[in-house]
Subunit: 316 residues, 2 copies
């Protein structure tokens, strides 16, 4: 697949940071940026933007806040082929803490929201847009969205913002290809002047397949992470996506090298990937929190029992 | 997805046996059959049928031969809801060693062949058919098949055999959904009186996705293994497939239980799954043998170097 408009965003550090509360070593972030930039990937999301009055630096590492100085230090001396992005959750950043883009190393800000919070998201992206950032809105948990509310939200975003892209976010890793086709088609129908994005989770080993399916249906912004790192089951593996895309600007080799150098050792310390409790919450279209909780107990591998618990809760 | 015609075949012991030369403990095979039978899965392939004059029992475990007494012992006392199958490679079994189905615990025999060997496969399935077995032909490495030869082979199978199904076998884990759609449509066009089957490999995390895509296009025989076990990257995970299929006869819970009981410990002893060198051979549509060889050396995790080696060989 080659289409010039396709933009790949690596969110290794941002989504991976959800596993370890964003406490990555400086050198890890630096190595990842070096590999991503060398691979020709368009964007790298380096963390969240949050105000320290709202979230405590005692509880979260520096990539929950993305201070300018921390980012500058992490990428200093590396050739910058890849734009930088930060994600913002609704209610976690004060507008006064968003500095003008011309004074920032960040190029893009992406606002993550549920459908119900779309008005807040629109307000926020317009603030960011006025300060010179590229923006996107990432609609989380779209597999649980009420359809008429989703339609209205998309129409509002189309009319009231200048975002580059609006993402289908399969937060629970529950979408099948036919759902992806349906949602990308729906987004494209409502969003005449924006691109459609895809952010997939790998609970059912479908993150990469669904990302390809989104691309086939016209999505041009696609998220992935090195070796599929990400909370719970993780995300679409960047190395597979780059292996699939034929755009000559991409080079898979720096990504393969960073897997052997950084991701294999990291995987020994923190877990992500195909793990049965996450597959089960994906099957039930449920938030992975019950699976995350289970993995911290001695029953972490009691799969049948966990299935029965989730099935019983569904039946209630 | 619910379609009464869909038949699921578990090949945990047969395809998994390619990792350890079929040296499974008796109790493992027994436990797997118990779980598969309890889950309502239609068939279980318990190993290969081979003649001991051709392959040596010193080199291979008992599930390379599937002696009647060994199978009987393995399933003795378990309620038999699941039919039993054995796979046969061309040239590895003498016809005289195929006993009549009425004297066998096997219900089905599947012949694996490359397109070029289709005449031998037809001869063999007709022998099996005359002895009372259900049969299939599994066309291996279809991603490398010459199209006109594949078309002819399918026409011949349609005319000259009574096989239940003919399989698309993605031996190298290189097919994408559009290839699966194309091949299943092609098979259905040529095979008016047979079912189409899908046997996927998971090199690029697409085995489950491609199996679903094959089902969507009308394939009714689908292979899977518990926890995705299989040579190299492994196969379509049975637990995901059964979670997807809505046929009320299926019960995922015995499969989840056998994963926690048998597959987690086994995965500590032998490896399969998402492993980068297998992803690379999949991307290049190559046999995994170079990746299998690499994994036995100290360079097992030198991914970039391995990629360059394969890329250079392709360019020659």
């Amino acid at each position: 697949m080659y289409r010039e408009e396709i933009k790949v965003l690596d969110c290794t550090v941002r989504d991976g940071g959800l596993i370890n509360d964003h406490f990555f070593e400086d050198n890890f972030v630096r190595e990842i940026y070096g590999a991503i930039s060398a691979s020709g990937v368009d964007y790298m999301e380096i963390g969240y933007k949050a105000s320290k009055e709202i979230l405590s630096p005692d509880e979260f590492g520096k990539w929950k806040f993305c201070d300018e100085d921390d980012i500058k230090k992490a990428i200093d001396g590396i050739e910058k082929n890849t734009k930088l992005s930060a994600m913002v959750d609704i209610g976690r950043v004060e507008k006064k803490h968003i500095i003008p883009a011309k004074d920032s190393v960040l190029d893009m800000m992406r606002v993550a929201c549920y459908v119900k919070d779309v008005d807040k998201a629109i307000d926020l992206v317009n603030e960011m847009d006025s300060k010179g950032y590229e923006t996107t809105i990432n609609i989380m948990a779209v597999s649980k969205a009420i359809e008429v509310e989703l339609d209205e939200a998309l129409d509002q975003i189309e009319k009231e913002t200048k975002v580059k892209a609006v993402y289908v976010v399969d937060s629970f890793g529950s979408l099948y290809s036919e759902n992806v086709h349906y949602l990308v088609n729906k987004y494209r129908t409502h969003l005449k002047t924006k691109e459609v994005g895809m952010h997939a989770h790998n609970n059912q080993q479908l993150a990469y397949a669904n990302t390809i399916e989104a691309i086939r249906k016209g999505a041009n912004f696609v998220d992935a992470t090195v070796y599929g790192i990400g909370r719970g089951a993780g995300n679409c593996p960047l190395e597979l996506l780059v292996g699939f895309l034929k755009n000559p600007k991409f080079d898979i080799r720096p990504i393969l090298e960073i897997i052997e150098k950084e991701m294999l050792p990291l995987r020994q310390e923190i877990e992500w990937g195909y793990i049965i409790p996450y597959a089960i919450t994906g099957m039930f279209n449920e938030h992975p929190r019950a699976a995350m909780a289970l993995r911290k107990t001695e029953n972490r591998d009691k799969y049948r029992e966990f299935y029965d618990t989730i099935a019983a809760a569904e039946a209630d």
